[in-house]
Symmetry: C2
Subunit: 165 residues, 2 copies
């Protein structure tokens, strides 16, 4: 059975020079990610959260109980510009899910931490998000998932360490 990317590629096979394998991989990843964002947005509406808000809470929550991180750390981890992270934190803070604390040792810095309400909503949202992701990734058995994760990791390592092999 063909997916939309198969059809796309077949349509102009021979009409232009390019690598079909690479095209297929890249385009499919783009579509899957886009689908995820849209599906998660509608699922997360149940707790009044948007994808980008959940994502931010999620990485903050990963920091443990205290759940602290500086905006620039989060921006780097989430591949967002510093300005973009300021905006995200603004809305989260206004919603009372996150708190900004000026660091006392280095007063240029700001620490961000989850409020208890933020943590609660994050935990609730995790279930919803999990269902959407499972629905997509779940077509693959555990072994295939491991293979996929490993292949993606090799590409991400390259991207994160541009110098090296």
């Amino acid at each position: 059975m063909d997916d939309s990317v198969d059809r796309h590629i077949a349509r102009w096979r021979g009409k232009a020079p390019f690598d079909e394998r690479v095209e297929a991989i890249v385009t499919r990843m783009q579509f899957l990610v886009k689908h995820l964002a849209q599906a998660k947005d509608s699922a997360l509406a149940a707790v009044g959260l948007q994808d980008f808000e959940y994502e931010t809470l999620h990485w903050l929550g990963a920091r443990g109980e205290g759940g602290r991180a500086t905006p620039s750390e989060l921006a780097a981890e989430l591949r967002v510009s510093p300005a973009g992270m300021t905006g995200r934190l603004d809305t989260l803070e206004k919603a009372g899910l996150v708190r900004r604390v000026r660091s006392t040792e280095d007063r240029r810095r700001v620490d961000v931490e989850l409020t208890s309400e933020g943590r609660a909503i994050w935990l609730k949202a995790m279930d919803l998000r999990g269902e959407v992701e499972d629905a997509m990734v779940g077509v693959l058995g555990p072994d295939d998932q491991d293979v996929l994760a490993a292949l993606l990791k090799r590409m991400l390592l390259r991207v994160e360490n541009p110098g090296q092999a």
Copy 2:
């Protein structure tokens, strides 16, 4: 060697219930796609194109010499809202890369086609984009690429045919 996603997951292993495999896959795909968009944007600057413009030209070009498609077809294929596609076509048309032709049989419809200039720029841009994508996907050998493409395809098929197994 660990990538940022390994570190992320390790950081809160045991702190919350979730599927590590799924998390790793989803997060890596998101980062890779984000990286691609940013890297392609800077590469494509050489021909004065942005990622979304290239993407649109690309699917139009795939339609063959005539290169025609309606906005709604393109919107569906590229996972963009109809309103978003109108915006894309506006900028492309203003740049002279694309032409809108009102259909004569059904005057509700509009056909979009590449101008010759649009086709020329698309071909130039394809090389640049290819380099960026190859740099990422190229870490994998041909066999691994096939494996990856097949796994992604299984997920995309599920997404495109929600009813079925």
